[in-house]
């Protein structure tokens, strides 16, 4: 029920009706009407009808449907992260809308403007991230050209230069020319390989940058994984059982399965938890075999190779959230190296042309785990096809992201809706493929499908993600998924972007935002 007191009061005054005459005409007391007008009493539809009839106004005059929408919008606004610490009273929007509808509209307008500006700012700052270097280099280039030009003019125009001055200036020109060459080359490389020099702002981006800097390949972890596997593998046992036995015998770690509802650690969604005191690793009894193996392996690697992990992180000079994120990434890496041994896995990849389903059958492992292992096949003497990787949920939240210097992926909100990762939700569980062309013309092969993680009983929603991998178009012959797309000319190529706001395709039918590029 929307409080309509102030609105009623203002309409009544505008009509020149006194409180007492209105009260009398509808048969209530003046004091009761006064309470209504000050929102001290809520009234039912019957009384509203009598009031509006007596004032000869449309009932909507008193409580317009847009009020409900305004209230709803204001309530939503209180949930925004911006106001997290402001403790906005959840009931207040009703009073604000009832008493000051224009203020309510003003607040919303302000918030929407803020939102649009923030998005534009984010898009711009992604571009400007690179700017300090560009400014610095172009300034340096201007200075070099200045001295070369100035020396040249002197040599040309001053006829009676002493030899030592002439020589010294010639040396200057030659030194500056060399410097110009190397500065221009560095600038050129920077422009063409933004991933290398671009420093990002969020911890997740910095973890991604750390992985890119190391080419997502860690020889020391590959070796550790190989030697661990040699110690554990036992031809008469399943790998999981061998892991159980080894954990108990070597580290006294018990593994117990329990209901996921028994969780206590936030963020792990009840899938696993380690109790240090009793040396017990609890795994959810709903966990699929592949995930359980992955958790066991991660736990074991942390126990046996913690020093190697810390050594890598220390050499990269990481701290705080970035350190934690990078540690998780390295644990994932090492577990993946253990479960999918480099040489055997790469050989199988090449033989099956990266057929994820066949690889799953050979190595056990989930769709996501296999795709993730693709991105780490980077040994310099035996590399696989370089893949980028993205994991998103249906609301567009990105939870894992590994881009390549030449293969950009969206960073957050406002991504291109035509990216295959988002389209994959239309056909859950099916592998879909796409050749996408970015506005600048580069083409990539994208492969995606959704995966579900069961987290509850029947009727409770599963966690759903889309996993997408991508490679540059010239690897298409090496990847099975390109077969049906290759050789069909332009009709199989989808024009896509990365972020809507930084995409210049003004006539795109799928635009969610205006492009900020036009206003640059």
């Amino acid at each position: 029920m929307i409080p309509l007191g102030p609105r009623l009061r203002s309409v009544r005054k505008k009509k020149g009706v006194t409180q007492s005459s209105l009260a009398r005409s509808i048969g209530i007391s003046v004091s009761y009407l006064n309470l209504i007008e000050h929102n001290k009493r809520n009234i039912g539809p019957d009384l509203v009808a009598r009031l509006t009839r007596a004032l000869d106004i449309d009932p909507e005059h008193l409580s317009a449907p847009q009020d409900a929408r305004l209230i709803h919008d204001l309530e939503n606004l209180a949930a925004e992260p911006l106001f997290r610490d402001s403790r906005l009273e959840p009931k207040a929007p009703r009073d604000i809308v009832a008493n000051h509808p224009r203020w309510a509209q003003g607040i919303l307008k302000l918030y929407r403007t803020h939102q649009t500006s923030s998005e534009a700012l984010e898009a711009l700052s992604q571009r400007l991230n690179r700017d300090p270097y560009l400014v610095e280099s172009s300034h340096q280039i201007m200075n070099i050209i200045t001295s070369i030009r100035s020396f040249s003019e002197i040599l040309e125009e001053v006829p009676d230069l002493p030899d030592d001055v002439r020589n010294s200036m010639a040396t200057g020109i030659s030194a500056e020319s060399r410097k110009l060459g190397s500065t221009a080359k560095a600038l050129f490389e920077f422009i063409n390989e933004p991933g290398k020099s671009l420093r990002s702002s969020t911890p997740a981006d910095q973890v991604n940058d750390f992985l890119i800097d190391r080419h997502n390949y860690f020889e020391e972890l590959e070796q550790a994984a190989t030697s661990l596997r040699a110690r554990i593998e036992n031809s008469s046992h399943r790998l999981s059982d061998a892991l159980f036995d080894y954990l108990l015998a070597k580290h006294g770690t018990q593994v117990k399965f329990r209901s996921p509802q028994a969780r206590t650690t936030p963020g792990t969604a009840g899938r696993y938890q380690y109790d240090k005191k009793s040396r017990t690793l609890y795994l959810a009894n709903t966990l699929p075999e592949a995930s359980a193996r992955f958790q066991l392996t991660q736990h074991l690697i942390e126990l046996e190779y913690g020093d190697i992990l810390k050594g890598i992180l220390k050499s990269a000079d990481l701290t705080g959230d970035v350190y934690q994120g990078a540690l998780r990434a390295l644990l994932n890496y090492a577990a993946s190296a253990f479960l999918f041994p480099y040489e055997a896995f790469l050989e199988a990849c090449e033989k099956t042309r990266y057929d994820i389903q066949l690889l799953r059958r050979t190595f056990g492992g989930s769709f996501e785990q296999i795709c993730h292992r693709f991105t780490t096949l980077k040994r310099s003497d035996a590399p696989g096809v370089p893949f980028a990787f993205l994991r998103v949920d249906p609301a567009g939240n990105i939870s894992k992201r590994y881009s390549l210097p030449n293969l950009p992926l969206p960073r957050g909100d406002g991504a291109c809706p035509l990216l295959l990762a988002y389209r994959a939700f239309l056909t859950p569980g099916q592998i879909c493929t796409q050749i996408g062309a970015l506005p600048e013309g580069e083409q990539y092969l994208y492969i995606a499908r959704t995966v579900s993680k069961h987290v509850g009983a029947y009727g409770e929603p599963d966690r759903m993600y889309a996993i997408m991998i991508a490679c540059e178009i010239h690897y298409i012959d090496q990847v099975l998924y390109g077969d049906q797309l290759a050789g069909h000319g332009d009709q199989h190529i989808t024009p896509i972007g990365i972020h809507c706001r930084t995409c210049p395709r003004s006539s795109c039918q799928h635009r969610a935002h205006g492009s900020v590029l036009g206003t640059l």
Binding site: H139, M142, T146, S147, R149, S150, E153, I154, S168, M169
Partner: protein, 154 residues
């Protein structure tokens, strides 16, 4: 050499100004401070200005520039904008606020050639703004013009 140059220059471009006779200039030894961190630019500017008979001093960063300005104020300052410790903008601002220094002629030489940089520099009180890369002649002419505009004190 400076006398004939200035005299010629005055005749060519400043017809309204009385040509300066060499004798009037003789006792005045004009000094210039080059504030610039690029050694080769310093070398060529020094050469060009010494050729015109000026006495040249060099500062390689913003702080040194201010020290030298205060210790031994020159007639004209050639100022780069992108310097360490204090930028050219900051030097200019301080310079124009200090009584004894505020009349020093300032010629800004900068690779920051955008219109708002030029405007900001002129608002801060520079006498002239030249973007890099420049023609030598343009800088030399501008220095001489600025020196000539200094009121003569007896």
């Amino acid at each position: 050499m400076i006398f004939t140059h200035l005299a010629n220059h005055a005749k060519l471009n400043f017809n309204l100004i009385e040509p300066i006779t060499p004798g009037e200039w003789e006792p005045m030894h004009k000094t210039v401070l080059i504030a610039e961190d690029e050694p080769y630019i310093v070398q060529s500017l020094s050469f060009l200005l010494e050729k015109e008979g000026l006495e040249v001093d060099v500062a390689v960063d913003g702080r040194q520039t201010l020290d030298m300005l205060r210790k031994n104020p020159p007639d004209i300052l050639l100022l780069d904008l992108m310097m360490e410790h204090l930028t050219g903008f900051e030097v200019l601002k301080i310079l124009r606020s200090e009584g004894e220094l505020k009349d020093i002629k300032v010629l800004v030489l900068s690779a920051k050639g955008q219109e708002n940089d030029r405007r900001r520099v002129m608002e801060l009180g520079a006498d002239k703004f030249i973007t890099k890369p420049y023609a030598n002649n343009n800088v030399v002419q501008s220095v001489l013009e600025l020196l000539q505009s200094i009121p003569q004190t007896q």
